[in-house]
Amino acid sequence: MKHSRLPLVTTLLVLIFFYLPIFVLVANSFNASRFSSSWDGFTFKWYGLLWHNRDIWQAVRNTLVIGLSATATAMVLGTTGALALHRYRSRLQAAHYGLLWMPLVVPDILMGMSMLLFFVAIGRQLGLVTVLIAHVTFCISYVAMVVLARLQDFDDAILEAAQDLGADWWTITWRILVPLLAPGIIAGGLLAFTLSIDDYVVTFFVAGTGSTTLPLQIYSMIKHSKQLPVINALSTLLLVVTFAAVYVSKHLLKESTPS
């Protein structure tokens, strides 16, 4: 029997399509040429400039603070929301689903503008907190959607069995629900985290003084900055940190599984 070459070729093409831009970016972070149009020699100067650029580090800190807090909050609220939608039926069920879907389909620009108007109307000073609230708003929906999908295959009989055996709700939540839903919650959380880190449009409108995030900083740098390639250097560092984190967590999981 002769295997088709098509799947192999497709896989290779997809891999190239995904990863080639990243390789180009990494290579360019070491390129002495500012416009990365040609290779002008190997340099660490962008990393040096990055180290001294306090605006970028401030933006990185803001991005991480907002990303992590928004994700944590959305994981709790999104999961509880999904559980409520799954377990209880109400007359407003359709409306509740609609509310959850809304942030997924509403254009960012509309969301950003309306939130800005809302915060101004209630007299709330814009800053990290308003960005956080805005991010939680759209992150909840993503977490809830993923957890809801996970709940579709959830066997409710397990919960009833636990109750029969005398487990209280606290025990059921922490020993059964959370562990079984964990993959969904974590997947939703990761999705929320990437969306929060990326977000430009909504963030621009609700950001206030001292809450410039990395995307805002990068967009603004395109206009005038002579130091644009430091973004390549920063992205390379983020990539290294991400890979390291994935490697370490795999390692830790492997060690904890046999016990």
Binding site: S33, R34, F35, S36, S37, S38, D40, H52, N53, R54, D55, R61, L64, V65, L68, S69, T71, A72, M113, L116, L117, V120, Q125, L126, G127, L128, W174, R175, V178, P179, A182, I185, I186, F204, F205, A207, G208, T209, G210, S211, T212, L216, Q217, I218, Y219, S220, M221, I222, K223, H224, S225, K226, Q227, L253, S256
Partner: protein, 349 residues
């Protein structure tokens, strides 16, 4: 135990959050909030200002005048100092969004170039002080563009077709066309504008595209042979590719300037005024020029910058050419006509 990784994760998140959040609460010094373009003020100068005035400077960034305006118009507050372009300054001033400046606290205003002020929209610097300006001109590859002439008519050259770009900016594109016909870039005469539209449609046949950002890269890599662009941008590209030349066409061009203004909602007016004054110091100004590559209209800073830059006739224009250059001003009601004609240019085949 299956639930332990989740607990560890949650605990880790909380600890991590507390660590990164904690410095955010350390606020005892007065704070100056600046809303500007990224990397627009040399960081060392900001640090020096913080030290001299015992304050904290927080810089937030925007990427277009319109975005900044939309945000402030909707009611966003907290910013003490803004750096919008002149035309946007006019719009904001007309709507009562800006404060008058206290000249008694701005002794360094004497350094501002009077030649520039003659053209400026706010010549008395009542509510705005010029920070950085840039000329629009033509950047080209010296070895590839044969028989280059310093004129907007270069965009008619069919031998460059497909390797040429113009700015994707209504006022800049019309500015070039109007200047090529000998009209003012701020004209509101429909006949002149229609003539300019026809010129643009003719030029468009030679254009690869209307482009605002990537033209620097395209010119440096040789993808484009000739571009309409800002002197500051092309100056940056020149550092990468020595073959690049830049001229201001003999018919004249547009000059754009970013100004420093204090919004009505500012809470720390004294610090903002002090910062403006600090930026006008000739030494500070010269360091900023060197850092960003644009020109600050500060006559006492000129002797402090590099000779190459100072003697470049396309940066510091000779008086005869300078007289033909204009600041992009407000066109009021004619904006609708401009937009309609620009749409026709964009739609033309």
């Amino acid at each position: 135990m299956k639930h332990s990784p989740v607990r560890t994760l949650v605990a880790g998140l909380i600890v991590g959050l507390l660590t990164v959040l904690s410095p955010a609460f350390a606020k005892d010094k007065p704070t100056l909030h600046i809303f500007t373009w990224a990397d627009y003020v040399k960081p060392e100068l900001v640090a020096a200002f913080e030290k001299a005035h015992d304050c904290t400077v927080v810089i937030d960034t925007y990427d277009s005048n319109e975005a900044m305006y939309a945000k402030l118009k909707a009611g966003a507050t907290g910013y003490d100092l803004l750096f919008p372009s002149s035309y946007m300054v006019k719009v904001m001033y007309d709507q009562g969004m800006l404060q008058e400046l206290d000249h008694a606290k701005l002794p360094n205003l004497v350094h501002v170039d009077p030649d520039y002020l003659k053209k400026a929209l706010d010549a008395k610097m009542g509510h705005s002080v010029p920070y950085m300006l840039t000329n629009t001109g033509i950047g080209y590859l010296k070895s590839k563009v044969k028989d280059f002439q310093p004129t907007w008519a270069m965009f008619d050259r069919a031998d460059l077709a497909g390797r040429v770009t113009m700015l994707n900016d209504m006022r800049e594109a019309f500015g070039a066309a109007l200047k090529s016909l000998g009209y003012s870039i701020n004209t509101t005469d429909p006949k002149q504008l229609e003539a300019a539209r026809d010129v643009l449609i003719r030029w468009k046949k030679n254009l690869a595209k209307f482009e605002n950002e990537q033209y620097k890269t395209g010119l440096a890599s040789g993808e484009f042979l000739m571009v309409q662009g800002y002197s500051g941008d092309i100056q940056q590209a020149m550092e990468d590719n020595k073959d690049i030349g830049f001229v201001v066409p003999k018919e004249g061009t547009s000059i754009s300037c970013d100004d420093m203004v204090i919004p009505k909602t500012a809470t720390n007016v004294d610090l903002a005024t002090a910062f403006i004054n600090d930026m006008l110091d000739p030494k500070v100004s010269a360091e900023n020029i060197d850092f960003i590559g644009y020109i600050a209209p500060n006559k006492d800073a000129y002797p402090l910058i590099s000779e190459d830059l100072r003697n470049d006739p396309n940066i510091f224009l000779p008086p005869a050419l300078s007289a033909k250059c204009e600041i992009i001003g407000d066109i009021g009601e004619s904006l609708k006509l401009y937009t309609k004609l620009w749409d026709e240019v964009k739609a033309a085949k």
